[in-house]
Amino acid sequence: MSAKAGPSDGPVALPLVTQRVAVVGLGRAGVAHAVMLAHVPGCELAAVADPRSSARAALRGMGFKVPAFARVERLLDRVRPDAVVVCAAQHERARVARLVLEAGIPVLVERPMARTLEEAEALVLLASKRRIPLAVSHPLAFEPVFARVHEVVREGVLGPVEHARSAMFVSRIFAPRPRRGPGRLDPRRVAGGVAAHLGSDLLFVLVRMLGVPVEVRAEWNLLYGAVEDELHGMMTLADGAEVGFDCSWSVPGYSRASTVIELDGPDGKLLASDEALELDLKRAGAGFPSGYSRLRDADFDAPARFDFGGEALWSHDAAFLDWVAGGAVPANEAFAALDAHRVMDALYRSAAAGGTRAKVAT
């Protein structure tokens, strides 16, 4: 039995007025945002900044003819964009985001929004005090399958979730990382390994959907360097429900990042992955009939006007620009992202302490 896919949770509204947007940091994420922004109607890529001349040349080499600066301060002086996407290196991210916020300009910052929880909290506080839009890049929340999962859970179709399991895997790291250069992951310059870089996206979806856990415990494996390549966590929600969380970038067979969420409730079960959403419900709800339903990813709306490695990033960036233009607050606004950052911080504290229970900061 298959139900028709409904509208996705992530708003795909388009900005009503032209937004001049700058991108700071031209690594893989920054370039992906630049590409997407160039294809959101009503958005103009106004400028870019990166201290590396090779990174600026790479974007220019793709054909982008926009002013390029080595320093963000100069970009803000010269261009004065309507919004800035901050994809600077993790150890620089909070400083750059703060600079932009202090200039009164809305910010979409790559995840994690800062290297430490303290820096992240200070950023969110600043944006809140100044009433400036601040969002954190969490495209998984805009993947049509996972946006639909959020709706299903929030509508209570499964009843209170009793058990949850989740995992995010990709085949990426299978050798010691270089000691210097772009591939290096120095623990003094990054928030962490796979959980910070990859798993935090899943963590955001879980926390937003199920609430902030009260405590966590975690173990990690450092296979190829000084940051974790695998992390296994268990999170306890306020009502006692347990949420499993696994992530690894060192498992073979996952040429693309793969995410799975399994939820059990008294009224049904749900299994969601990048490929499909399966439900087994005791009674109808959220647009699904009772019994078994399965929707494949291709059954969902695909609103992105440009594909550069997936559907979600376009919707994600379009939703942020809509917010900047006065539209609805997107799923990935900074307060929600800060909750996920706090959980990630607790997972790291627990893993560093050998798997002891760690309270989640509030």
Partner: protein, 294 residues
């Protein structure tokens, strides 16, 4: 007599072996396991050509190269370059220079010399980072991985095509086909995940590659920017499109997908290994349909 370059009408796509075809992960793993032995892939390639395919669309991955080395006869290859797995691509910084640096590290002496010569002739050292000037150097490295006799076409891989498309890099789309034809005496194509937009831009610029490769299917999956816009461009009959992902990730049959693509103006089709159970039988069926619309 001037050589003409015609777009292929039926190709066997082995892009699923590169991990880039839109198919369930289990299906991709199954296909990759099934063709782990080079002999089994080699036999399939030959059978595909015998069933009417003009050639094979795929990256010169170790699996494809080993299979081709098994064969005594020539199987025409439409090589998708640069040959990079999704995970290898993700590990590199964006732009063309990291790709060139990687290709140079992996190339033999002869390939490196050829890369240097091509770069020198195009003054590419003075235009570092520029896709139009530097991509030929990259193509030299990729093409050297394949037996020269079988190289029927060079198709620029989607990550490069779509990056240049995003930047509206007109010179890239104008100059690359000229380079491919002159250097390799092969047809030149662009693989894309945004077929409607690419067709529109090529029309506006007057750029004329021999063909593009991109998704067309009855569900509109991957037909960016919108299915209706993609179909409108197809209907204008500009640059020929060879359709891929006709089964829309498994939502419809190959027969439906092929019928839809051809009916809406696709010049040819490239069904993937992951979209077929019986390659010979299904390719023959597709070939018969193509003959019907010729």
């Amino acid at each position: 007599m001037k050589r003409t370059y015609a777009a292929p009408r039926l190709l066997l796509s082995v892009r699923s072996l590169d991990g880039v075809t839109r198919a369930p992960r289990e299906r991709l793993l199954e296909i990759q396991n099934r063709f782990r032995e080079p002999e089994s892939l080699a036999v399939t390639l030959v059978k595909a050509v015998d069933a009417g395919a003009a050639g094979v669309l795929g990256s010169p991955s170790p699996a494809l190269r080993t299979a081709l080395a098994e064969l005594e006869r020539v199987v025409p290859i439409y090589a998708v370059l640069p040959a990079l797995s999704p995970q290898a691509y993700r590990m590199l910084e964006p732009g063309v220079e990291p790709l060139i640096a990687r290709a140079r590290r992996e190339a033999g002496l002869a390939a490196r010399l050829r890369m240097n010569l091509t770069g020198f002739l195009r003054f590419s050292a003075f235009r570092r980072g520029d896709f139009a000037a530097r991509a030929p150097v990259l193509l030299e490295a990729g093409a050297r991985l394949l037996p020269r006799r079988g190289l029927a076409g060079v198709v620029i891989a989607a990550p490069l095509t779509d990056a240049a498309l995003a930047g509206d890099h007109r010179a890239f789309f104008e100059s690359l086909p000229r380079f491919v034809r002159a250097r390799f005496h092969a047809v030149a194509g662009f693989e894309t995940r945004n077929p409607g937009l690419l067709l529109q831009r090529l029309r506006e610029w007057g750029a004329a590659p021999d063909f593009i490769v991109g998704p067309v299917n009855p569900r509109g999956l991957g037909m960016k920017p919108r299915p209706v816009e993609t179909l409108a461009e197809l209907g204008r009959g500009g640059v020929p499109l060879v359709a891929t992902e006709m089964r829309a990730g498994g939502l419809c049959s190959l027969e439906e997908g092929v019928h839809y693509a051809l009916e809406h103006g696709a010049h040819g089709v490239a069904p993937d290994l992951a979209e077929m159970d019986e390659v010979t039988v299904e390719l023959r069926g597709v070939g018969a349909r193509l003959a019907g619309v010729r």
